[in-house]
């Protein structure tokens, strides 16, 4: 095993731990919506929410880094260049995440001054990490980019997948610098902040996951490289073509020019088109394998990725993306429903597929199967579907009663808190959140055990043969 792959295992372990933190913080957050005095004067709602959404970003990002550190040496047929530095920075990354989380929980907030920006909280959603930690993340990304480019140069090899990956690294890194800005004009701030959030999630991350899934399909289904790379180019072109200017679908109520609404609506209305192509591709690949693979969990999570992405980003997104609807649905639980589903389908399922594939290879398993992964697959997906269903109902009630009828007034907001459609939607979200958490527990059990037995049996046979 390459050192890079050992590092990948560490990254994936850290990712799955943070997945757990995200789940717990999400459960806490869901309780605040039902009991507003929950953990009063102990842990405020904002902190729980920050932990939930920031660990979401970090666990997915760590999952990406782990996946690429696993596949890159196999792709380049050599150790990753600068792996020593990457190993050191992994621990720096983990330490920074831990310190930031402790500061969020213990200190929670500070004054409106430079000290708070540097050491407590930058105060902008998804990139709340204080500046010192944000510099650390930028450093980790810089070394990661160096690892990829230098490995490619030393191997004197640029494959289609690594070429796309390297090209993607430039916007991924440059856009992150937006995390450091602190303009005092809120419109300007939000205008650029969306560049970071949207263009990471709906452009650069889409390319990252496309590259990772390309490697996954090659290893899981033994698909031909040329087929995979041809399809990768088509998908990347379509995703970027529709995703970049889809940015405009966030530009509501923040003072941006109104032409952005039409631009955003138009391009995001086109976003489901490539997603449908991905679903058809997934079915085609599944058909070529006659649903028979040695790593069933990885295979099913790959299928879940294609379908979840289509439904979460495509169906849920299209329900609310046209400007006349977005005006009302913007920033409600409806948006939260879409975000949960889209993140789950587009990224989380993909990272889980890679995790099972990596475990198969790392443990030398002959077959990855059993009951536990099926339970975790069913519980996680049922839990997620129930949560987004509850949030959708609550969000529609919020848009209907609070926005369209009540006109977004404080009194409409307060009366909404007793509206049955709204409250029952939030209860549903919390109950299915527990189902999801149960799925996470089974997932951990499965990840610790799956694929070990055949390897142990084989080792015993080899020892017996040797003696």
């Amino acid at each position: 095993m390459y050192r890079s792959q050992k590092l990948a295992l560490k990254y994936l372990t850290a990712a799955i731990v943070l997945f757990g933190v995200m789940t717990v913080a999400g459960l806490l957050t869901s309780i605040y919506y039902i009991r507003s005095d929950f953990l009063l004067n102990v842990l405020n709602f904002n902190t729980a929410k920050i932990l939930h959404i920031d660990t979401l970003i970090i666990w997915i990002l760590m999952g990406f880094l782990g996946s690429i550190y696993w596949f890159l040496p196999l792709e380049m047929e050599r150790e990753v260049a600068g792996i020593g530095l990457a190993e050191v920075l992994f621990w720096v990354f983990c330490a920074a995440v831990t310190i930031v989380a402790v500061v969020f929980i213990v200190v929670q907030y500070g004054g409106g001054n430079e000290f708070s920006l540097w050491f407590i909280n930058q105060g902008r959603k998804y990139v709340e990490a204080p500046r010192w930690a944000a510099i650390g993340i930028a450093l980790v990304l810089a070394v990661f980019i160096y690892n990829i480019i230098a490995t490619s140069l030393k191997a004197r090899r640029v494959t289609g997948i690594t070429g796309v990956l390297i090209a993607d690294m430039v916007p991924l890194f440059v856009l992150y610098f937006d995390a450091f800005a602190a303009p005092t004009d809120m419109s300007i701030d939000l205008f650029w902040w969306w560049w970071l959030v949207h263009l990471w999630v709906e452009a650069t991350w889409e390319i990252l996951i496309a590259c990772i899934m390309a490697w996954t399909l090659m290893h899981l289904l033994h698909s031909s490289r040329r087929i995979i790379e041809n399809w990768l180019y088509v998908e990347v072109a379509l995703v970027l073509g529709t995703g970049i200017l889809g940015l405009g679908h966030h530009y509501f109520w923040i003072g941006t020019p109104s032409y952005w609404l039409a631009i955003g609506g138009f391009f995001s209305a086109l976003e489901p088109l490539p997603l449908l192509g991905m679903v058809i591709h997934a079915i085609y690949d599944a058909g070529t394998q006659h649903m028979r693979v040695t790593n069933k969990p990885a295979f099913y999570w790959t299928l879940a990725e294609a379908f979840g992405n289509f439904i979460g980003a495509g169906v849920w997104g299209f329900m609310m993306t046209l400007p006349q609807i977005n005006l009302f649905s913007h920033g409600t639980q409806w948006t939260v429903s879409h975000a949960h589903f889209a993140f789950w389908g587009a990224y989380a399922c993909g990272v889980l597929a890679v995790l099972y594939l990596v475990l198969e290879q790392a443990r030398g398993a002959e077959e990855m199967d059993g009951a536990a992964w099926k339970w975790s697959f069913a519980l996680l997906n049922t839990g997620l579907f129930g949560m987004v269903g509850g949030l959708l109902v609550a969000g529609m009630a919020q848009a209907f009663y609070g926005r369209a009828i009540g006109g977004s007034t404080l009194s409409a907001f307060l009366s909404l808190q007793h509206q049955p459609w709204y409250t029952e939607g939030l209860w549903t979200r919390m109950i299915f959140g527990l189902v999801f958490a149960g799925g996470y527990v089974v997932l951990i059990f499965d990840l610790l055990n799956i694929g070990k037995r055949p390897a142990i049996a084989r080792e015993r046979v080899q020892q017996a043969a040797a003696s």
Binding site: S224, R226, I227, N230, W231, V234, A262, G265, F266, A269, L270, P272, L273, L276, G277, V279, I280, H281, I283, Y284, G287, T288, F310, I311, G314, V315, W316, F318, M319, M320, L322, Q324, I325, F328, S329, M396, A399, F400, Y401, A404, I405
Partner: protein
Amino acid sequence: MTPQALIFSSLLLGAFVLLAGLYGLFYSIGTLRGARYLITAAYGCWVLQFLVTLSIIMLTPLGSGWKILIVASCLVYLRIPPVTWRHLRQLHGLHEGGRLNIR
């Protein structure tokens, strides 16, 4: 837009994309298995999608530009599964010597 129209329009838009997905799903599985009834079901889904499109045009207060976009999308969705499938078959045929034994 009235509150009722807001919810009604968004549900129609969701159904529009969901039916496109079902059309793609049935078309792919039907073609894979050579099952005519699934392909018929696929086109049935597209017909439903077309009816949803008509409903969006006639019953919702969306702007005319958006309605034109939705009609155009509906027509594009009709072509996506066959074109994608043909492209995939062509790719596999080119790169794997046509070894695939699926329809």
